[in-house]
Symmetry: C2
Amino acid sequence: MTPGPEQPPANDPTAPTPRRVGRRPGGPDTRGAVLAAARAEFAARGYQKASMRGIARVAGVDPALLHHYFGSKDRLFLAVLDFPLDPRTVVEQIVAGDRARVGERIARFVLTLWEDRGVRERLLAVLRGAAGDEEVAAMLRGFVVGELVARIAAGLELPRPELRVELVLSQVIGLAMARYVVAVEPLASATVEELVPLLAPTLQGYLTGG
Amino acid sequence: MTPGPEQPPANDPTAPTPRRVGRRPGGPDTRGAVLAAARAEFAARGYQKASMRGIARVAGVDPALLHHYFGSKDRLFLAVLDFPLDPRTVVEQIVAGDRARVGERIARFVLTLWEDRGVRERLLAVLRGAAGDEEVAAMLRGFVVGELVARIAAGLELPRPELRVELVLSQVIGLAMARYVVAVEPLASATVEELVPLLAPTLQGYLTGG
């Protein structure tokens, strides 16, 4: 359960940050043990209460190793669920820029992202997992509220900002279900540029009321 | 495979229409055989191309019996999927009344319907089934487009009416997923009356552009 000699030591501050969550820390057994421990801890305690330290203890690895390879709890969680995108990037994309066009930005970002088949399939796998398993749903819930909803809601000026962000989320999830799972036509074949002007006012309305 | 003597004959025009799709025609074996045959036919041919006559043949029953007990293809399909509501009723509720308040009507209708735990669980089971099984998704797709989308779209005056109805559908599905499956707070605990004014402009905008 210790990293192999070819791996950089966990406490080397000059070691490069790995670009992908998928990089192996200390061989496949360690990565597998860490992900299994993380999954168990997230399921048992919920996303918010699970800690990097606790996960490291269950996996039998040094907490510094965990931080070194997964960076933070949210990134470890993304690896556990094989979640196709990093909410920090999403939030940056959404929050930056003209507030009056945030709805259009979200619509275009989400629709463009889903054009990537790999991203789409992993996102749908997460939704399917949540729909079929309350444990997965509970993990996802804590993560979504803590990492995504809270961050976007912090920038809003209307009453009940979390509720408004969650309505955006509901439209985004439902669009994925209707377009790719039930796949009703003509929605399934509509282009991104056809859909953006129809969706933008909805998302804009939820977030800024206009 | 013939109805028992206590059942009304299939060709008796004075026989009452059964109130529930769940009533047994000719004993449990016949009902089971009809539902199994219908499921197979819907899966093999799709909802639109499957016929009552073909289903009766596969089930080994008289087509008149099928019509007598299930009424029509859409009602038989609802029984196959254990779908919790009849789209005809939905369409009537939505289309009737002031066009300028259709968004509010749909929001209140859907949210109120889901307060019924049984309805909600069967609806989510259908969505879960579609997400996990392409055959179920394909059946649902044909049914939704043919029985629900087409009927509502027929009354709209804007361009691309089917696409607009499907955007409403996407918001309705996504709301169910976010509120009851991922169950993010505060959305999961928000009341119907809190949500109606937030959702109504979205649905209204999709259907009438205003």
